[in-house]
């Protein structure tokens, strides 16, 4: 800086020095932050540009539907919303079983825009909410990092890392209208406020922290992470002997206000005082009171008496508190740990006890390459950043270390929790990188001791002595030189800075590539390439959902596997039996049983549940691997969990333990409703005996399956969605099989018109 100043005269000096220099830097910082936010938003718009402004995947469809309900009916109706169009015939107390933060946020934005008479569609708000909040997240990360590091560049680096790192983009592309969309911003911002309040010991910051914690609770179930991390931080600080009035003020304020705020959400209710997940916060709250009390007593008493008192006190209180806790847990006042929580410690737990949780791909343990895929170079800068925290270990650095350790573990256990790891990785990596850049990116060399001595007008005895000694001793003895920290040669600066720049560029390219290829598919719409390279859109989902929406009765019940429940509710607007909420395992198992059993067993189940249409996803024509036959084993497993005598997973495997759909498939498999619905009429598309399943890569039996209780109602263009109508009960009280046989015998002509002879099933 000094060199450039001398070259470029007083004009530049005006902008970079003193009061106006501060303003200039502030303005630059603001511009950079705005650019970062713009980059964060822009990189999430791939899918909007490539496809359209559409809600993605599964859960967002529910949030979208709930938001529409909120906007249409108002807040109080939404709060009391009993949804009879899902979980038929049970219904769902939707208002009391969701985190309303997301919907309310977009509802408020919608109302404000409407008040300003902007004719914005609620769908567009929902689609663009996640990118918008990611800009805010980048800003929050900047604030958080700036609290951690004195370096002016660390915050900005962290902001841009947070803005474009795929680990966060994966959950916040345009259209991915899920709780995480706003929750990560709230997470980071709550942490920032916490750090701020611990640093300042200010009730205001702690109050703000509690406020945002309350917002976070209303937005995402992951708030438990904060609920446990902040107490842990306080606990560790206390154990390290860093207890201070600042900590006491901020923690107690946060706990009291935050707990009250969180209890305002109906879905959370009394959990903060009753569930084990929240007990650590309460425990630490008590601990801090004790420590605060003893600190006060210590100032009043001589040390010897104090020590005895302390020992007795600690023992008594600990024994009392622990006993009380055990008592409450045993008596059931405090809910035991939830299943999802156990699966965090034992990755095999879910598979054995809760197949529904295990059947979700994002609940699987993370594969190692995923870390590199989602974080690229940040993952190796991350440990360096954490290490640097140990070098200046202040209260806030302790927080970083704890956060890093916990989040790394959780991210390893569950793919989904990569999301909570990403902020801390960005912060730590930015700290490490900014340290490198601050050291190497200084244009001027550190001042030579000699020049310093010459330049200083004040005569300095020590310097003179040094000088004398230095001149007296040959230069080859480097050890005799005074230790000067700094980089002298331009070469090393260039090399390091270039290397860093290249890494950063590769990082940007990697992020863009990952975002573009892995995370920007709406999964409702599939894209493929035609031979000439042009894009072809496979829109089967919406074709079938729209058909349902337009051409069936508004109260026609649709049965499908739970994955598609939210989509059917959102796009087809028809009641469903089960959906992605998965609150009732038995109901899901019932659907699983209907899908995996023989028609004779399934038909009464469907009739009992007033099912009108059955929807299956079938990818064999296109080679679309996410279809129901591939998910079928989970249906079997979940059904087996409730009816182990009637549905057995083993029956769906060949004696050699293979899962097959061709001639070798087991009779149970071939008679299951799912198999029949998937392959019904499929063989007619091919010359006789040539039907091929492109997903499983196997040739199908020559004889296609026969359906007697269902009839095909609609099949989408590429056969991805097949919809069947459940036949009404036979007029003459026969079973449908009997009726089918009779018709076959009585009207031979008609039967021969339908290709393929029917097979008599004797069961």
């Amino acid at each position: 800086m000094a060199a450039s100043q001398s070259l470029e005269g007083p004009g530049v000096r005006f902008f970079f020095e003193g009061e106006s220099g501060r303003n200039t830097r502030g303005l630059l910082r603001l511009i950079i932050l705005c650019t970062i936010a713009a980059a964060a938003v822009a990189s999430r718009l791939f899918s909007v540009i490539r496809f359209e402004s559409i809600i993605h995947e599964f859960d967002p469809w529910f949030n979208f539907r709930a938001t529409k309900y909120l906007v249409e009916h108002g807040f109080y109706k939404f709060w009391d919303w009993f949804d009879d169009r899902t979980w038929h015939p049970l219904g769902r107390v939707t208002g009391g079983t969701l985190y309303p933060g997301l919907m309310v946020t977009s509802g408020v934005i919608y109302k404000v825009l409407r008040f300003l008479t902007f004719p914005v569609d609620i769908r567009n708000i929902c689609v663009l909410l996640a990118p918008g909040f990611s800009g805010l997240t980048a800003f929050a990360t900047y604030l958080l990092t700036s609290e951690m590091s004195d370096s002016p560049s660390a915050g900005l680096l962290a902001a841009i890392f947070m803005g474009i790192s795929p680990g966060y983009i994966s959950r916040s592309v345009a259209g991915s209208y899920d709780n995480e969309a706003i929750a990560i911003f709230l997470l980071v911002f709550t942490f920032y406020l916490w750090i701020k309040s611990v640093k300042e010991g200010s009730i205001m910051w702690a109050g703000l922290c509690a406020l945002f914690y309350g917002y976070m609770v209303s937005a995402w179930g992951g708030y438990v992470f904060i609920t446990n991390l902040l107490p842990l931080h306080a606990f560790v600080l206390t154990c390290m002997g860093r207890f201070s009035p600042r900590l006491y003020v901020s923690y107690t304020t946060w706990y009291a206000l935050g707990t009250l705020a969180s209890m305002q959400v109906p879905f959370v209710g009394f959990l903060p005082i009753r569930s084990s997940d929240h007990m650590s916060a309460l425990g630490v709250f008590g601990l801090l009171q004790l420590v605060g009390f003893t600190e006060w007593v210590r100032t009043q008493l001589p040390s010897k008496q104090f020590q005895t008192l302390l020992r007795a006190l600690v023992l008594i209180v600990f024994a009392l508190a622990f006993g009380f806790l055990v008592l409450l847990t045993v008596s059931g006042t405090i809910a035991p740990w939830s299943g999802r929580f156990y699966s965090l410690w034992d990755t095999g737990y879910a598979k054995i006890h809760i197949p529904i949780i295990a059947s979700v791909s994002e609940h699987q343990p993370t594969a190692w390459p995923a870390f590199f895929f989602d974080l690229n170079m940040l993952i190796w800068l991350f440990p360096a950043g954490v290490y640097m925290c140990f070098r200046h270990l202040k209260d806030e650095q302790v927080f970083i270390v704890i956060y890093a350790v916990l989040a790394s573990y959780f991210a390893g256990v569950m793919v989904r929790l990569m999301l909570t790891l990403t902020p801390i990785v960005c912060v730590a990596a930015a700290m490490a990188l900014s340290q490198i850049l601050d050291t190497f990116l200084v244009a001027s060399s550190p001042e030579d001791p000699e020049t310093k001595a010459n330049g200083s007008s004040k005569p300095n005895g020590n310097a003179n002595i040094h000088e004398k000694i230095a001149s007296a001793i040959p230069e080859s003895l480097s050890s005799t030189k005074s230790a000067v920290v700094g980089i002298y040669t331009r070469l090393s600066k260039y090399v390091i800075v270039t290397a860093c720049s290249i890494y950063l560029m590769i990082f940007v390219m990697h992020c863009t590539w990952v975002t573009s290829n892995a995370y920007s598919s709406p999964s409702v719409v599939l894209a493929s390439r035609l031979p000439d390279g042009s894009q072809h859109i496979i829109d089967d989902y919406r074709e079938a959902y729209y058909w349902l929406r337009q051409n069936t009765h508004p109260t026609a019940k649709v049965m499908s596997w739970w994955d598609y429940g939210y989509q059917i509710g959102g796009m087809a607007d028809r009641p469903t039996l089960v959906d992605n909420n998965t609150w009732n395992n038995t109901h899901i198992a019932t659907v699983g049983k209907a899908m995996s059993s023989r028609e004779e067993v399934s038909y009464p189940i469907m009739k009992e549940h007033e099912v009108d249409y059955v929807l299956v996803v079938f990818g064999a024509l296109l080679g679309y691997s996410g279809d129901d036959i591939n998910k079928f084993l989970w249906m079997v497993r979940i059904a087996e969990g409730i009816w182990p005598d009637e549905v057995k997973e083993r029956d769906y495997f060949t004696p050699r333990g293979e899962y097959r759909v061709d001639d070798e498939a087991t009779p149970t498999m071939r008679n299951s409703l799912m198999y029949k619905m998937s392959y019904y009429n499929f063989d007619k598309l091919f010359p006789a005996g040539q039907a091929v399943d492109r997903v499983r890569g196997s040739r199908l039996p020559t004889e296609g399956p026969e359906l007697s209780t269902l009839e095909e109602a609609f099949t989408s263009e590429n056969w991805i969605i097949r919809i069947y109508k459940v036949k009404p009960l036979d007029n003459l009280g026969r079973s449908h099989q009997e009726a089918g046989l009779f018709e076959k015998g009585g009207k031979k002509k008609k039967a021969s018109k339908r290709k393929g002879a029917r097979v008599l099933r004797v069961e």
Binding site: F51, E52, S53, I54, L116, T117, F118, P119, V525, I537, D539, R542, E543, Y545, Y546, W547, R549, Q550, N551, G570, M571, N681, K684, L685, E711, E712, A713, F714, T715, S716, E717, W719, K725
Partner: protein, 493 residues
């Protein structure tokens, strides 16, 4: 001849003008009303064209005033229940088609009346003993019914058209015949009437190619009917639009005319006996046979249209093409699924046009403008499209006033209102026109809207935005300068 409808709808005089209009146009008649027998139909030829999915009827009639006074009201009766499906009744002087001033309007009867009438008013009363040749044109919607009502997916579709061989008339008709123009020669059933009815004693009907002629018949009293029906092959969809909403948004600042049309279509054709079979559909797609399913909409737009979109309730429909060149602009829309009989499909399409090609400044006037747009566009199908109800909304710029309009499409109601959007303070002047029973043959008819747009109104929006931003700055400055700290602030050097 044009049906002229001028309505002065200045914002200030809105209420008064509206009430005047309703009093003038209403003809409430008692249920026992019988049209006075002032006329006699000397000769009547009725042509019914069944090429499309609706019936286009043309009655050419020579009428004679048999009263002693000059008369100017001729009544056209319709059977109960049918008048709701009759649209676009237009009357011309056959001998002198350029002569304007014929007005056809529905008379309002109390609900128990067996018959309903259209009242035709001549520009000049017809003198006694004088003759006049009228050409009455109208469309009957939803008149074809598939029979059998359920068919297989690949079957041919047959429709039944029931009618009276005597033209609807409130007067004595001396001589008449009815000609049917069918789209095909595949006519399994056509009611044969006894020869005794026929004036010339010939076989009834006479067939010649696809034309079936009933009559001629001798003198028949007023209101005479003779039921007949034909059933013929019509393996095309019966496209029926339940509602078409059309918005035309004029923006002088943007130099843009944005059009959006929202359709609710249904296919009135025969429903599927078995359910839809994708196998059969895919197999038939190779040789593309005629089908009763609606596969595609072709949507010719005004040349120069741009930025077309085709969306429905759940997003963009990717199966559409927009062809735009200097000579044409055509939207080819493929619905998400083929629309078989009984199935519905609703969607919206929209596009932008250049303001220059729709709006002109009126010469000699400082702030008068004239806008000319098609009254509606909608798809143009070989089998025809009918709309039960059509609501066109012209959204003029904020501050436009003194709105007048003229159109050749028979409308049933008009109103002006306000529409608030995009930071409007008072809202945009909106003209809403409703027409019922419209068919796609009328799609080329224009709507001309004349309005004043003072230049003062132009600057309302920039000033609003300026004031808004100024307010934000002022508020943030005030908030930024508030000192809310509890303790004493430590002064930093």
């Amino acid at each position: 001849m044009r049906l002229l409808q001028w309505a002065s709808l200045g914002l200030v005089t809105l209420a008064a003008a509206d009430s005047n209009l309703t009093h003038e146009s209403r003809n409430i008649l008692p249920s026992v009303f019988k049209p006075p027998q002032h006329f006699r139909n000397v000769n009547l030829v009725r042509n019914i064209n069944l090429d499309k999915s609706y019936a286009k009827e043309t009655i050419n009639v020579v009428i004679e005033n048999i009263d002693k006074e000059p008369q100017s009201h001729y009544y056209l009766p319709f059977e109960p229940g049918t008048i709701g499906r009759i649209g676009a009744v237009e009357v011309k002087d056959k001998k002198n088609p350029e002569r304007g001033g014929f007005v056809a309007e529905v008379t309002e009867l109390d609900p128990y009346s067996p018959t309903e009438f259209y009242k035709i008013t001549f520009p000049t009363p017809l003198k006694p003993q004088e003759q006049l040749t009228l050409s009455i044109n109208y469309y009957s919607l939803s008149i074809l019914n598939p029979l059998p009502a359920q068919i297989e997916q690949t079957d041919k579709q047959y429709v039944l058209y029931s009618f009276s061989v005597y033209a609807p008339s409130a007067y004595v008709t001396q001589k008449q015949k009815t000609k049917l123009k069918l789209p095909t020669t595949d006519v399994p059933d056509a009611v044969v009437l006894p020869k005794s009815l026929n004036a010339e004693g010939k076989e009834d009907p006479q067939k010649s190619g696809t034309t079936y002629t009933y009559g001629p018949y001798g003198e028949r009293e007023a209101g005479a009917t003779q039921e007949a029906s034909v059933r013929y092959e019509f393996t095309k969809p019966l496209v029926h639009g339940k509602l078409l909403e059309r918005d035309v948004e004029v923006s002088h600042w943007g130099g843009n005319v944005a059009v959006e049309e929202r359709h609710w279509f249904t296919n009135r054709g025969a429903t599927l006996k078995n359910h839809f079979s994708r196998v059969a559909w895919q197999a038939s797609s190779y040789y593309n046979p005629p089908t009763s399913a609606l596969k595609e909409f072709r949507y010719p737009l005004v040349v120069g249209s741009a930025d077309a979109y085709f969306i429905d309730d759940i997003g963009n429909v990717s199966t559409s093409h927009f062809r735009s060149s200097k000579r044409e602009a055509t939207l080819e829309l493929k619905p998400r699924y083929p629309i078989f009989g009984g199935w519905n499909y609703s969607f919206k399409v929209g596009w932008n046009g250049d303001l220059q090609s729709f709006v002109r400044r009126i010469t000699g006037s400082s702030d008068g403008y004239v806008l000319k747009v098609p009254f509606f566009e909608g798809p143009k199908q070989a089998e025809g499209v009918e709309y039960e109800r059509l609501v066109t909304r012209i959204i003029l710029p904020e501050g436009a006033k003194n709105v007048r309009f003229e159109t050749a499409v028979p409308i049933v109601s008009n109103s002006t209102g306000l529409h608030r959007t995009f930071m409007d303070t008072v809202g945009r002047t909106t003209l809403t026109l409703t027409a019922v029973n419209v068919v796609d043959e009328l799609r080329d008819r224009d709507l001309v809207v004349i309005y004043d747009y003072p230049s003062a109104a132009r600057f309302r929006k920039p000033l609003t935005i300026f004031a808004g931003v100024l307010a934000i700055f002022a508020v943030s400055w005030v908030v930024g300068n508030l000192d809310v700290s509890i303790g004493k602030k430590q002064k930093t050097a």
